[in-house]
């Protein structure tokens, strides 16, 4: 579970002016739910995520049981995928994924099992011994995702787990986008609380339990996908005339740019 209320984030620029990045944002993600944060560039989506993971100072309250304990305990319960990776050294793929097991002391055998399972989950088992530096952007993203999944793979002693993903599907092909979202849903079903920043509205509407729309640091909509993905709100968010249809199979809203 994650509860954020009246979150406000501001940073001082070089000249001393304060810029408001996020203003008065409140939402709640229940255990096992997936929340997707959407909005145009610079709306404050990543800032919300970085406040939750402790990288940015904020005012307001952010509450989750996963934050209990010291650094080490926290790193067993909270996993974060940043938007970009700066890994610049020739690790091979399984070595990168194995770094996700660093906070745990589960032993080499168990770690190897989990790494292998995560490699399969992200469909990169065939890349296992390849040099990370030589992979394509989408492959690198899948490797980083596998690393993050490894970090919260098990719940030791039913401890609460929180997964924060910043644009995890930005470099993925269509097949792997859905593959990833299904994996995320599986984690949610195991009791992981998940917040994911996304640009693909249709993908978010298809898989998220709740959506939060941000625009210019402010919260403009929050609720179930069908409450957020409306022609009016999308027009407001992106300045674009759109048509919203509903999937005949799943019933989720589908956006068509017009």
């Amino acid at each position: 579970m994650l509860r954020v209320s009246e979150l406000k984030i501001s940073v001082a620029s070089r000249t001393g002016q304060r810029h408001v990045l996020v203003n008065d944002v409140s939402f709640e993600v229940a255990t096992g739910e997936v929340l997707a944060i959407i909005g145009p560039n610079g709306a404050g989506k990543s800032s919300v995520l970085r406040a939750i993971d402790g990288e940015l100072e904020y005012s307001g309250t952010i509450h989750s049981l996963a934050f209990s304990g010291d650094n080490r305990q926290r790193s067993k319960q909270v996993a974060v995928l940043p938007q970009q990776s700066s890994l610049n050294f020739p690790f091979n793929v399984s070595e990168v994924v194995e770094l996700g097991r660093m906070p745990h002391k589960t032993g080499k055998k168990r770690d190897t099992e989990i790494v292998d399972a995560a490699l399969h989950l992200m469909d990169i088992a065939y890349l296992k011994n390849r040099d990370y530096m030589l992979l394509s952007g989408g492959e690198k993203q899948r490797v980083q995702l596998a690393r993050v999944f490894c970090q919260i793979w098990d719940d030791d002693n039913n401890s609460p787990r929180l997964l924060l993903l910043d644009e995890p599907s930005s470099s993925l092909d269509l097949g792997h986008q859905h593959h990833l979202m299904k994996a995320i849903k599986k984690f949610a079903e195991q009791g992981v609380t998940i917040v994911v920043v996304m640009h693909d509205i249709n993908l978010a509407a298809r898989y998220a339990d709740k959506m939060l729309a941000l625009l210019c640091s402010e919260q403009v909509a929050y609720g179930e996908p069908k409450q957020v993905v409306t022609e009016k709100i999308m027009q407001r968010l992106y300045g674009l005339n759109v048509e919203v249809l509903f999937s005949s199979k799943q019933g989720h809203p589908v956006l068509i740019g017009a």
Binding site: S75, N88, F89, F91, T112, E113, D116, A125
Partner: protein
Amino acid sequence: MAIPEQNSTEPTIDKGHRERPIKLLTFGLLFLVPASLLLSLSVGTLTIPIESVLASIVWLDSSHAINTVVNDIRLPRSILAGLIGGILAICGAACQGLFRNPLADPSLIGVTAGASAGAAVAIYAASNVIFFSGIYGLSLVSLSAFTGGVIAVTGVYMLATDKTGTSVATMLLAGIAITAIAGALTSFIEYFADNENLRRISLWRMGGLEGANSIRVNLAIIVSFAVFALLPRYSSALNALLLGESEARHLGISVQAVKLKLIMIIALGVGVSVALAGSIAFVGLVVPHIIRLIVGPNHRYLLPLSALGGAALLLLADSIARTLFAPIELPVGLVTALLGAPFFISLLSTRKHFGMET
């Protein structure tokens, strides 16, 4: 966790193509280090056969002259060479990890230039203010070099640190700035130094191991013991840091504390080795790089293997320095630069982005 794996394949304990090279390199270096130690004891102005070297090390029958050459003259120097080579290389490996830049060098944090300035000050002051010479003069130079190195690193660290933490990118730039200031100070002293001091300063800067004596060797043993014992404790932290600082934090690493401790250990190791042997170029850059090409960037293997590789390289370089124009000895820094620079150039030509993407 019960995520269904599609076509669950056998969970192979497959370290793949890494395990063999790690083993081979470990055995190779464990052989190479003693071999180059013996070689360095054997060659020089007087070539002593290996069996006589072995004989005199273990105090077996051997002429008194050979005993003196091997045990009193060459052994301290060889031990110093091996330890300093090891310190420089392991600190180089840690530095490259800390800066997330495979082309970083321990001298980047200003320690070498600061130590050079400190040494220049001492050489100048020793001849002008107080008439220090011989053993006292030498240790005054070392002490002053170490102080200079520590002041420079402290300056770099403070410039790069604010309340949000230390920025390694700023540290690189601050290192350049402090290096320039220290360089200017050294030049200033050189300008006013007489010919003999000028020569001493410039010889000191080329790096050399000829000042090896038991005090220096003991100091090197203590410091290298500390460095070799402490740095490998940070191998997982360094591995995590390669992902990025926030990623390392999310993996439970106390990033700021780790950075500070690593910088202190590197400054101690490099500061002491520069103080004892002058600035020896390229060992800290080239050795970890070669090791990484073979075993990959995992610091668990990279750090100890770099130490062994650095020891072997400096022992061999010092042997070359003593024999190439025997009886004249070249400064060992000159030899490592001559060996290292072509390698560095070849790295530049194969690496387009210089590892400076962040």
